[in-house]
Symmetry: C2
Amino acid sequence: MKRPTIADIARRAGVSKGAVSYALNGQPGVSEATRKRILSIAEEIGFNANSAARALSGARARAVGLTLCRPARILGIEPWFMGLISGFEAELGARSYALTLQVVATPEQEVEVYRRWWGERRIDGVIVTDIREDDIRIPVLQQLQLPAVVIGGPGDTGPIAQIWSDDAGAITEAVRYLVALGHHKIARVSGVSDLLHTQNRTKAFENVCAALGLDNAITIPADYTGEEGSRATRRLLIGGDRPTAIIYDNDVMAVAGLAVAQEMGLSVPGDLSIVAWDDSPLCSLVHPPLTALSRDISAYGAQAALELLNAIDGRTVGNVEAGRVHLTPRGSTAPPR
Amino acid sequence: MKRPTIADIARRAGVSKGAVSYALNGQPGVSEATRKRILSIAEEIGFNANSAARALSGARARAVGLTLCRPARILGIEPWFMGLISGFEAELGARSYALTLQVVATPEQEVEVYRRWWGERRIDGVIVTDIREDDIRIPVLQQLQLPAVVIGGPGDTGPIAQIWSDDAGAITEAVRYLVALGHHKIARVSGVSDLLHTQNRTKAFENVCAALGLDNAITIPADYTGEEGSRATRRLLIGGDRPTAIIYDNDVMAVAGLAVAQEMGLSVPGDLSIVAWDDSPLCSLVHPPLTALSRDISAYGAQAALELLNAIDGRTVGNVEAGRVHLTPRGSTAPPR
DNA sequence: CCGCATCACTGAACCGGGTAAGTTGGGGGA
DNA sequence: TCCCCCAACTTACCCGGTTCAGTGATGCGG
């Protein structure tokens, strides 16, 4: 089956292909009557502009890129990325932008992929996640002048747009809630510690604990996997002075922590309260369902995609805060015995 | 920053751009010495061929498409798709093929996306998942002559390559295992019932149960979500003649089922044994860890990507079976009390 | 009735890589 | 010595949209 081109439309409409191009793109230069005729022919023969030809003649590639730099076993189980992706799609799909995905192992590979995509003119911009302190990707993106939007932070990303959620406020709320329930010994199991948002959370956690006079507020670094979550939980629970509440940086580690507590014969929430960061179906699936810090990840993704499209169109975008994070209390938190 | 083109290389090497093209593509027509010189210049200035130009001149777009047709809340939590995607990437990344993703709501939209991608010449082929009986996408793909590989089945996909795993063998193994433990009342909570592999599993489940003389072997249809998994489990457990073992079509529903059992005060595996289809970190995360039907999803994905690349290159591909599914016994299965 | 602006459109160049067809220069065989 | 052949290139056109510099027709004011 042959793909229809603007030349086919031009022939059938009895005009030049330049006129067809103007008509299809809403440019001035054709009469309203001709435009309608051309559009109806295009519709009739099922015309779709060849994305390669369009990209080649200086216009947009109509695609954005996303690199995922986490081991496969995390990617699979963490609802975060898929939620983000479906959020992106909501905005991108509406504008017929494609999303190009690449799974990589290291930030260095991410940089390579960015360079390749740029060289291939394959994408118009990228969405950057898992931002680190002094992230090596930022200067490369600036050098390549590749439109981008950074998810996570806030941090120093120079002129690149950034979208972040109020992690500090969220963890403060969680700690205050636990303290209000009567907890004094609160621990935290964090995600990968060189990620910027992990650092922000750790700082905020320390601040609020100090402000409330909780002295042994410890953060154990982990890596978002269930295994590390279990390990960290065991370490916390076998100590003499064990915490009565633990805040986990993601849902997977929280679920793993719950299993460890049950395994050790501790009752949740009687002996141990659990709070998960990022609510997901996973949190309401287990017994007891987990109290969680909820945010609309999909909306977060949609907002990021919108910012990126703005950046691509040359509209300046800044440093925006995403929708609020709020605490959703469920069965895993209660006053300590 | 200007992107280097083959014209830049040609100028620096003192040859024509035709010669550069031959050299870069390993075509005959240039001497070994010239080829080496051109390749080293390309390397030096960081050349990447413009994918649009390449695609336009009749060659490959060097991208494949994947549509995901499940509600966002399933996509997020089910490790299956991400596992599959990282498998694809292993093959695609090695050949610098891009993966283009689109999340849609209905099979009709999937067809639309295929048509658009085809018209835009954006992709060289597609990976088709969640195949149904008389799937509407198959005839469209044939009409468009779009290379494709179908994951799931086996079923009737005409000349389109297909890759499937032995679901019938796997469920037979699981049932035999439960019977060997002493179970007589085995139920199953299935995934979306118009998917082909769900039907295959249901048929096989009924066959093996009949062969082993288990009379009330019931399959309750669900939709892979935790909510439906809980509902189906409740329905099974409140009945008078409740099963002593349940097989779930995915890990999410199995975890939800476990929570329901615990909620109802039933002990797992004492009062109820649970088997999950598709092993994932989720299964070993909960307490007790779930016995699961394991397969290497990532390898499955890699194999599918390879088949698709073969189809794109015009090599005929057939109907291949993926690596075996095997039972991984864990703490959620035991002889009934 | 003339001159000029405006509209609606055409023609051709262009993007950058692929490739068929044409052009060298040198070596080997007769 | 001549001729032919082949390797090693060059030239030129193709892909399908976009865009800019024309061009002819029309309208309008003076």
